[in-house]
């Protein structure tokens, strides 16, 4: 096996191990590890299988094995990146909506607190001696 393929296989194995470790420690949620895990497993499978690598090479018109791996790794990386950009955008939208809701609710709480204080002040009996009736 060529050195580049061995290096790619080692890198893919390390990536898989790191993803599994991160999931176990809850640094990555399972649903967000899927894309990375899928890409790493696919890369590893291609490193280990001559026929699969040759088939992919024919598909993209490249005959050199290391180049096939590089191109494929690049494509997988871009797709994974795109997926996470979509996720980040969605999270940002949710974050904005939540921040707006929190701001509005805080305003509402402040308003209710003010109203409550005003009502308490209005219903409080006058303090003893107030009014200047004199003893």
């Amino acid at each position: 096996m060529e050195r580049a393929r061995i290096a790619a296989a080692v890198f893919s194995s390390l990536l898989i191990a790191e993803i599994i470790r991160s999931v176990r420690r809850e640094h990555i949620r399972v649903e967000y590890s899927m894309a990375w895990l899928g890409a790493a497993i696919l890369l590893l499978a291609l490193c280990l299988s001559d026929s699969a690598l040759a088939a992919v090479g024919r598909l993209i018109g490249v005959s050199d094995a290391p180049t096939i791996l590089m191109v494929l790794a690049g494509i997988l990386f871009l797709f994974t990146f795109l997926r996470y950009s979509i996720l980040v955008s969605s999270l940002k939208d949710h974050n904005i909506q939540l921040a707006q809701k929190v701001g509005m609710l805080e305003w509402e709480i402040e308003r209710l607190n003010k109203e409550l204080t005003n009502r308490k002040d209005a219903t409080r009996p006058p303090a003893a001696g107030a009014g200047g009736a004199g003893a």
Binding site: I96, A99, Q100, V102, G103, M104, E106, W107
Partner: protein, 245 residues
């Protein structure tokens, strides 16, 4: 001014981010002009005493838990106004560039000619402060680019001085651009087939602080806005219905 005749319930919206030096005077001048209209300052996560200054000047202050950017702050105000049943909102900047004396002109146009949004333009009549050359060029360029999209010429597409009615509030409370929102907002309205126009207003140089768009950021601004406009044209339409008149 009798705003009741023009707009059943009006809210003044002032987004502010670290504008402690100017926001109080802006609030006071609006309150002098329209003493009955509630003034809502959206404090976009300021780290100075913007909120306190606005409150002391007589405004209601809605504080966001963290900085969202101008579009996020303005949309908060629109959402608030829509959810609280306001019939129209006038938005002006917290840096003192907009003249509250022009608010009646915006509201007049909004109600008498059945527009959904009326913006104040500093370029329709060359009176008052006219911005830097680069910004004027940017405005002119966007005006040119927007012409085929909007079907009409908008002289000052970057103006943040705007009056909107309830239909526009409904649209903006659901869909409003986050960064540099003014130009994209026009495209959003166009997509929803709402009507908008400009009226000439007088603008002043900002009272204090610096603009959020520096010379270098102008390039990013232009690319970002162009992409935003393109995205809005191609946008997948989520299903929600605007009440027809």
């Amino acid at each position: 001014m009798n705003q009741g005749a023009q707009c059943n319930s009006l809210m003044i919206l002032i987004p502010a981010y670290n504008e402690e030096a100017s926001v109080a005077e802006v609030v006071r001048s609006v309150r002098r002009m329209l003493p009955e209209a509630p003034v809502m300052v959206i404090d976009d996560g300021s780290i100075d005493s913007t909120a306190q200054a606005a409150r002391n000047a007589g405004a209601e202050v809605l504080r966001l838990p963290h900085h969202l950017g101008l579009g996020g702050a303005v949309q908060t105000g629109y959402r608030f106004a829509f959810e609280h049943g306001f019939a129209c909102v006038v938005r002006l900047d917290s840096d003192g560039q907009h003249n509250p004396a022009d608010i009646p002109t915006l509201l007049d146009k909004l109600s008498t000619d059945s527009f959904d949004m009326v913006t104040g333009s500093r370029f329709l009549q060359n009176n008052g402060y006219q911005a830097q050359r680069l910004r004027r060029f940017g405005g002119w360029l966007f005006s040119l680019l927007l012409y085929p999209i909007l079907g009409k010429r908008i002289a000052d597409p970057t103006s943040g001085f705007a009056a909107v009615n309830r239909r526009a509030l409904e649209v903006f409370s659901r869909s409003f651009p986050l960064e540099y929102p003014e130009i994209e907002a026009l495209v959003v309205l166009q997509r929803k087939k709402l009507r908008f126009c400009e009226v000439p207003v007088k603008m002043f140089p900002r009272r204090a602080g610096r603009s959020t768009i520096g010379s270098l950021q102008a390039i990013y601004y232009m690319i970002r806005v162009l992409l935003g406009v393109l995205a809005n044209i191609l946008k997948f339409e989520r299903r929600f219905h605007i009440r027809r008149r």
